[in-house]
């Protein structure tokens, strides 16, 4: 780009060397006025690089400033917006400015963009949120979350209705949901629980080997897997997989008016959608946990076979001695409540979704995070309860 600042009345000239078709010159007249003569093709892509220099050329003098476009062949939308803005800026600064000489398509562009009177924004630009505001919003959000308890009440009412009239429940969906939440989850439940059993066995082996207590790896793996790890890991997998799916599905149904359509058909979303999902997870989670127990113990067995010179028979016998029926049962008992919690949270978040795809995404994220939190809280409660009752 070349720019010259000659003395006297000689023009200030601005050309874009990358686009020789674009040229601006300033002519200062003896009466104090000035002309900005644009020539060539004013396209945004070509002129934006030199626009700051054009703005400098447009500094107001003592008289009016004319933007002469008689030499302009082409003017695109963005360049028109910049040009009109520049004129308004001069006027707002107390100067006088007008656009002259436009013709043909250039005139049409100016008319198109200049015909809509500008008006201020209807609401101010969102201000950055301060930390106190953020804390306040979070607290307000938590208080609002207590309204979600309405949902639990609705589910209880729907449950009572389902007991009185079992035909009102959409049982037809239960096998399909069980397949999706149960059978389809089996591979990932097996892999994760096997690895958890393996890691637990390995960590135990490192410590117990020092005391020559290799065989107790079976006790440690068996007890920790059946009482804690398999129920917890399986619930986490189901929350991430089925809880998210339920929430996204119901959220999508809500934003696409399917929930409204259900209501207008006289169907209750709780008995039609929520109840089958609750039943599904309450049934499926204990079954998956039993599989998790078995494969977790197998993970520990692998460590024992490869690293501790313990035979399969010895390992299994020790596991049988250490792990009682209560250990397996207590783990499964917890998962009934995990399943109930995951399904209720996922359905509540889904049915409360709003605001299109973004709302569904938020609902799904919230469903998974809240479910994980609920799982840990319920697990802690059960641990305390079992301890209190001597188990």
């Amino acid at each position: 780009m070349d720019s010259a600042a000659p003395a006297g009345y000689a023009p200030w000239v601005l050309t874009n060397t990358h686009d020789p078709g674009f040229r601006v010159e300033r002519i200062d007249r003896s009466d104090g006025g000035a002309e900005l003569r644009f020539a060539g093709q004013l396209r945004f892509r070509q002129c934006f690089a030199s626009w700051q220099n054009v703005r400098r050329l447009a500094r107001p003098g003592s008289g009016p400033l004319a933007f002469d476009l008689s030499g302009v062949d082409t003017l695109d939308g963005a360049a028109t917006a910049l040009l009109l803005d520049l004129r308004d800026e001069v006027v707002a600064g107390g100067g006088a400015a007008e656009i002259v000489g436009a013709h043909g398509g250039v005139r049409a562009m100016l008319d198109l963009y200049g015909s809509h009177p500008s008006r201020p924004s209807l609401q101010p630009k969102p201000a950055p949120i301060g930390i106190l505001d953020e804390i306040g919003r979070e607290v307000h959000g938590l208080v609002n979350e207590t309204r979600d308890l309405d949902f639990v009440g609705d589910v209880v009412v729907a449950g009572a209705k389902a007991v009185r009239a079992p035909r009102s429940v959409n049982w037809r969906d239960v096998p399909r949901l069980m397949e999706r939440a149960g059978a389809d989850s089996v591979p990932i439940v097996l892999v994760i629980n096997f690895l958890v059993g393996l890691v637990t066995g390995f960590q135990a082996a490192v410590q117990l080997k020092q005391f020559g207590a290799n065989i107790f790896v079976a006790d440690l793996v068996g007890l920790s897997v059946t009482r804690e790890l398999a129920p917890l890991m399986t619930a986490i997998i189901v929350a991430g997989r089925s809880g998210a799916a339920f929430s996204a599905e119901l959220g999508t149904m809500r934003v696409s008016e399917e929930i409204d359509a259900l209501r207008t058909l006289g169907l209750d979303p709780f008995t039609f959608l929520v109840f089958p999902r609750v039943v599904t997870l309450v049934l499926v989670l204990p079954l998956l946990t039993v599989l998790g127990d078995l494969i977790g113990i197998a993970g520990g067995l692998l460590v024992a076979l490869l690293g501790l010179d313990i035979t399969t028979n010895a390992y299994l016998l020790e596991t049988q001695k250490a792990v009682g029926l209560w250990d397996v049962f207590s783990g499964c008992l917890k998962t009934l409540f995990f399943g109930l919690g995951i399904a209720l949270i996922a359905c509540q978040r889904g049915l409360a979704a709003g605001g299109g795809a973004q709302g569904v995404g938020r609902a799904t994220t919230s469903a998974v995070v809240t479910s994980l939190f609920a799982i840990v809280v319920v697990d802690a409660l059960f641990t305390v309860l079992f301890h209190a009752f001597g188990h």
């Binding site: 399909r176 399917e258 169907l267």
Partner: protein, 240 residues
Amino acid sequence: MIAVEHLTVGYGDTVVLENVDFTVARGDVFAILGGSGSGKSTLLRHLIGLEDPMGGTIRIAGAPPPRGGAPTFGVLFQSGALFGSMTLAENVALPLATWTNLDAHAIDTIVRSKLRLVGLEGFENHFPAELSGGMKKRAGIARALALDPPLLYLDEPSAGLDPITSAELDDLIATLNTSLGMTTVIVTHELRSIFAIVRHCIMVDRAARGIIARGEPAALRDGSDDPHVRAFFNPRSRAA
């Protein structure tokens, strides 16, 4: 058929329309008109019982809109709102299976007849995702008609459709009204549909927070003094 008196509607604490009064005669094709954001869909949600009014009453054949129980009207939602996990036949069969004691064969027969009525026979086993926008709306009408309701609500039936499909849908709505005597309430802003099928209408406006015109569409187009009504019915003259 429908009597609305002093109705105030909105969401949260925001009043959208207030003091709305109108009646819809049995067998009429009645339209709720208005520009985007004028509150016509909000009004419809109250008419079909999805929202509680802030004030006033809605009576359908003398009773408030039902909450639960067998539906007394059919609704076509803007997107069709078909259940994505079900085939078309299952969608149409759902209200029949829920609210009647018909056997599977009878339900199947009715489902096929409803789909034939809307020109979708042969698509029984298609899922909604496999259909075009116009087909989804026609399937939505078939589901809305499943229980042979005396009243049909249609939320912007022509929105997003090409002119040919839109005209076909208008023909279907007009046929349903003339052949079955079904009272039809349409929420729309499609001028072509309005003049093709609507007999009476009201126009709502967000700024006025109420009804700004009522009557026959042609009379409003030719005789209204309200600038919003004139602009709505004569968009070209506004542009000029």
